[in-house]
Amino acid sequence: MQQILNFVLKNKTFLLFLLLLSISLALTIQSHSYHRSKFVNSANNITGGIYGAFHSISQYFDLKQENEKLANENKRLRASLFNMRQNASNSKIDTIQRFNVYKAHVYKNSYTLSNNVLTLNKGKTDSIDEDFGVITTSGIVGIIDNVSNNYSTAISILSKKTRINAKLKKSNHIGSLVWDGKSPNYTLLKDVSKFANVAIGDTIVTGGQSSIFPKDIGIGTVAQLETDPGGDTYTINVKLFNDMTNLGTVYIVENLDRTEIFNLQKQSNE
């Protein structure tokens, strides 16, 4: 006993170093798996408040661009509104999906790490919860991961943790969207069937198989095609519609049928 005590006292610096190192390594390993970064995240009042203070200054720098984006979206929505009125009589509704949309500001955005996370200024008090989708006017951004009372964090699509169901707009062939960590402007669409008739410049949209995003939200265009070593599938390099390096206002999308779909899938898996 005496010897053990002596050993501890003699090496207390080294032992403290080992203890703290193992804590930080454990947190690091945890942060590399999906939905595990529960303890260390920026969805809390202190970091949110400080980022809010920085945001209140920096938001003035890109007011012009934000205005331009909004005007463009208004134009697009107005055009589709007029066209819908004309077509309303002869169009039929095949699926009814119900979604709630919330508006949020991006307080923090990163795109240089290997797992990028956004901090948004909406939280539980604004009825935001885990697994809501985050989109902008031009395309998808990420998925809500952690929520506190007033703030939330979202895993960006520029992260190795996300796999998002996506499809080719013209032929409905599906694949999963992953990021290789190389450029914030490109992601990969993997496992697309060889039967799909893909050409450079085709549009990729969300697939509607996931219960997070609505169907047909834009993602990007095909920039490059590669056949996998197996020879049966393509890996497509997708150029994103969104400029992930410059996000101002985003929309959070809630699928109101999510729990129902989730429960059904759980039942049939059992």
């Binding site: 610096t13 703290l20 930080s24 590399h32 260390v40």
Partner: protein, 168 residues
């Protein structure tokens, strides 16, 4: 004694805020960021208790991690740097360290330069290895280490020289 602690607390807070508010968003050439918060670890008083030094460095790294949602990578890197600082001091300041008489504001530029460079490279090596967490991407890791180290070194040396002039 009071103002002595005051300086370190202020330095801790100011570097933390500058890091998370400004330096994390520079993204020079797309991905290069300076990590200037290590100045706090570099300038921590040498004669002080090593356990306190380790805990404070860990805490600083942890806070940066909380702000940037990066798990524990900054905490681990800061901790490794803090633990191996005596070795770095010895190799860059030599005899002066043996006599416990290193004064950062009075030391010659060469020693300070070596000290900052070795410390930065060590810190960034641990940081990016854990951040990427995939040894098959070793080229990406090395690229990030080299470019970020250059940026951090230049910025840290400028800050160190600018803020030490007044005290001479």
């Amino acid at each position: 004694m009071n103002s002595f602690f005051g300086i370190h607390i202020w330095r801790f807070l100011v570097l933390l805020l500058v890091q998370v508010g400004i330096c994390n968003h520079i993204n020079f050439m797309g991905y290069i960021n300076p990590y200037i918060y290590i100045i706090f670890i570099l300038l921590f008083p040498i004669n002080n208790n090593r356990q306190v030094f380790l805990i404070v460095s860990f805490l600083l790294g942890m806070l940066i991690d909380i702000f940037s949602d990066s798990g524990g990578v900054h905490a681990a890197a800061s901790l490794v740097l803090a633990y191996s600082r005596p070795l770095i001091l010895k190799s860059s300041f030599g005899l002066m360290y043996d006599y416990q008489s290193v004064k950062f504001s009075h030391s010659d530029f060469g020693s300070l330069f070596t000290y900052v460079i070795i410390a930065t490279i060590l810190h960034h090596m641990v940081l990016f290895t854990l951040e990427v967490f995939n040894l098959s991407l070793i080229l990406l890791i090395l690229k990030k280490v080299v470019f970020s180290s250059i940026f951090t070194c230049i910025l840290s040396l400028i800050i160190l020289i600018l803020f030490s002039k007044g005290k001479r």
